[in-house]
């Protein structure tokens, strides 16, 4: 294998004139599941990337496409990890068709740069991965990283109009077109979005844009418990109001927002929702949301101005810092019907207690997704016990169909835990569905070159 790697590295260097040798420091920044790659390659364009892939595929090397590395904590440890294929040099805007609300960009462009490009024309892509300065557009789509703003703009995968990809053997495909409505052939964009680099490497994307709202604003209110806050959130979602995001936060998450971002929300539990509209519409929506909050016994109602709202949105997508940033921190995710959120919150509390953890909760209350972070209280903390309690309580008392429809994911945690549990929540998938995924993987990547072992069912 070492020989193959050497000859691969030499051929890439001969081709590009660039060194692919790694300093220890550089290797560290591409660490995945405790492993470092032998080689990092950063092709300058699509064609060069195809050549790299074809050579790696031929040499039987394992390649992990690499955007900003912001999702590195998720998934199983790689089965093997030879090459990190960095998109860092492919970060240019290809075409900005502002009249068609379409931006065509290279996959390695950061979401922040895409925002700068589109915001200058009063438009937005509505993508909200954590750390948008580092997260790339390609990575956000390929991992389908959708944050709180999905209530208004849909999931990240809904934004893809056209995709240019390189297959493991270096072949190029283009899926979709620069149109907003398209049922021409299979929806390959959706197959690739959320495939976590297991099928192909996305190199260029056409992203559907929206007009950024003229005015934005938000209201927060305190609630005595997560249950009451979730109930208020359901009332909001059943109303004709159109929030951009609606988030329920517990006291720990409120505290981290105050210390990390200087945003003080009322506790112990906050429901905070933002709106974007023309001025008249915004004021009306905020006034009516205030009514809902009062009816639902929300207290300490706080109005956030446009600057605060613009700052809070991305902060909500980030994981809490400081107390929840240690290497032993766990991040769990549960997804289900809106009225399951209180159950997920209770499961978090009991899991933290059982495993000796401090915890923070942030839930996309309009989308039925709860995220929680658990930081060890002491050396006795047991990640396995925490996950066991969390997963069993999230589904407890549900019949088979209901349990199947609740999905859990270990967003990040130690490898020792990942070795023992269903990281992606694939235990809820039927074997027939998993087999279809395996068949598709085999069709795209018969040699198992791309991201082996990391994704669902260790594809």
């Amino acid at each position: 294998m070492a020989l193959k790697l050497d000859s691969f590295a030499q051929s890439i260097e001969a081709d590009s004139g660039d060194s692919v040798l790694l300093s220890d420091e550089r290797a560290e920044s591409f660490k995945l599941g405790g492993q470092t790659p032998s080689v990092v390659v950063s092709p300058a364009d699509h064609e060069a990337l195809c050549r790299v892939l074809a050579r790696a595929n031929e040499a039987g090397l394992a390649v992990f496409p690499w955007g900003g590395g912001t999702s590195r904590g998720t998934g199983y440890a790689p089965e093997k990890y030879d090459v990190a294929l960095s998109l860092e040099r492919m970060s240019k805007a290809v075409e900005f068709l502002k009249d068609d609300l379409t931006a065509v960009v290279e996959a390695g462009m950061s979401v922040e740069d895409l925002d700068k490009l589109t915001n200058a024309e009063g438009q937005t892509a509505g993508l909200d991965p954590p750390n948008p300065g580092a997260s790339t557009v390609g990575g956000t789509i390929i991992a389908d990283r959708s944050g709180p703003m999905r209530v208004r703009w849909g999931k990240a995968r809904d934004r893809v109009m056209r995709m240019k990809v390189a297959l493991a053997d270096g072949e190029t495909h283009t899926y979709g077109a620069l149109v907003v409505k398209n049922v021409t052939g299979y929806d390959m964009n959706r197959l690739l979005s959320g495939s976590w680099g297991t099928l192909a490497v996305v190199t260029e994307l056409a992203i559907r844009l929206y007009k950024a709202p003229e005015h934005i604003g938000a209201l927060a209110a305190s609630f005595p418990s997560t249950d009451t806050a979730f109930k208020a959130a359901r009332a909001l979602m059943a109303s004709p109001l159109m929030p951009v995001w609606a988030e329920v936060l517990d006291d720990a998450r409120i505290a981290s927002l105050a210390s990390d971002d200087g945003i003080a929300l009322p506790g112990p539990v906050s429901l905070v929702a933002s709106f974007g509209d023309f001025e008249e519409g915004l004021n009306d929506q905020l006034a009516r949301f205030e009514e809902i909050l009062k009816t639902e016994s929300g207290d300490d109602i706080l109005r956030l101005d446009d600057e605060q709202t613009a700052r809070l949105g991305p902060a909500l997508a980030d994981p809490p810092g400081e107390d929840f940033s240690g290497p032993e921190t766990l991040a769990f995710r549960a997804s289900g019907r809106l009225d399951q959120l209180p159950r997920f919150a209770e499961a978090t509390r009991r899991a933290a207690e059982a495993g000796s953890y401090d915890f923070a909760i942030s839930a996309h209350a309009g989308s039925g997704v709860l995220r929680c972070w658990l930081a060890p209280e002491d050396e006795e903390s047991s990640p396995f016990e925490a996950w066991r309690v969390f997963s069993s309580l999230c589904r407890e008392g549900r019949d088979e169909a209901q349990a199947r429809s609740i999905h859990l994911r270990l967003d990040s945690g130690p490898n020792s835990l990942k070795e023992q549990v269903s990281v992606w929540g694939e235990d809820a998938l039927e074997s027939a569905a998993l087999q279809v995924m395996r068949n598709i993987k085999k069709t795209y990547d018969p040699e198992g070159t791309l991201s082996p072992g990391r994704f669902v069912g260790r594809l």
Binding site: R157, T174, V179, N182, V183, M188, P240, S335, S367, R409
Partner: protein, 481 residues
Amino acid sequence: MDSAGFIQKLTDVVGEEFIHTDPVALRTYDCDGLTIYKGIPSAVVLPESTEEVSQIVETCRDYRVPLIARGAGTGLSGGATPLPGGVLIVFTRMNKILELDYVNRLARVQPGVVNLHLSRETLPHGFHYAPDPSSQAACTIGGNAAENSGGAHCLKYGMTTNHIMEMTVVLPTGEVAHLGADGEDTPGLDLRGFFIGSEGTFAVITELTVRLTPNPESVRTMLACFSQVGDACRTVSEVIAAGAVPAAMELMDRYTIEAVETVVQAGYPRDAEAVLLIELDGLPSSIGPLETLIRDISEKNNCSSFRIAQTEEEREGLWMGRKKAFGAFGVIAPTYYCLDGTVPRSKLAQVLEEFDEISARYNLRITNVFHAGDGSLHPNVLFDDRVPGETERAIECGAEVLRACIRAGGVLSGEHGIGIEKIREMKDQFDEPTLEIMERVRDAIDEDGLMNPGKLIPDEENVFPVALGGAVARMGGGMTK
């Protein structure tokens, strides 16, 4: 093959009452809304449960007989037209709404539920099912999912795929799988999203969980009239570029206006070259400024009149014209061929000009009535199928129209699907590697090639011929009685 044995097995699954093999009965099912291609199935079965569908699929697999699922047969691309000799699974009996969950804004339905019936049920509770194909009074939600159907209000609310959370499907192996979930974050590849719009070539859908959308608090419907089609198109492009998202934005050209006014008198001015039917919905406070913006853009582009419906009756009248447009074409020609090529919205004026040239070249009238806000065109080639050769000419004219869409950076289909209709043009749309991966992925899911064969992916051996005065097919592999 033991035909009698095969039919007996199917009969054992659904019962004698729910299987048709009589040639006269079978003829009823020989095509969907695309009537120029036909095929007679060997049997039509009407299952009542997922379990029965699973047994039907297994039986077809055992006997290597192709199977085709059909909702209401309103599709316009031939997706539900049976391969001659195949088994048609019809969902008329699987038409129950299984659960209405207003707290979570979800409905669980069987695939044979008629699109509009679901909204009728939920409207009084403050919700509706947003995707609204023109055939919504007849088409089924299962069929909508198989085709990823669109509709006038998809401009604001998205296509069918944006409204389906979970599907129960029977895979080609007969196994049952659940794709997607009640929640948004699901593990693994997005098979839900990938199977929606796969036109029955991957699996048979037997149950769906769909999103319910809160009813808009107010609706404003307006009609902008223009003496140049180009002005109407520019209005659409500028409204979109300004970031305004109406609930619907429909364009009708002068032939359509003429036909509509002759048949239903919707109140469209007969001297206009084009009208835009625009609908805004939402909170009154939000749509007020939008209305002003759209009026300003229309006036800037020389609109000759701008009218806002003042009463519900007036609003319904304006929509009546749009909804009856296709039927009204009968006053111009006996038959029409409706295409659904889609282009970037900034290219609308350019492609409509090209359609005029194509129309002149083929000496066939092309009318336009379409979802302009999405760039989702509906050019209708009008022809007389009684005139020898005219059907073939209309089909060739249609292909030319689609190629014009592709040249403008657009696609063959925005909402009707490929089916049989546009299968030949897939090679104009996609390069070989891209088409090949679609074919390989299909083969990986349906190893035996029994799921709705002859659709979507071009294959020289598997092309439905044009049916002129009856169904004749040169398909292999199907069972004939």
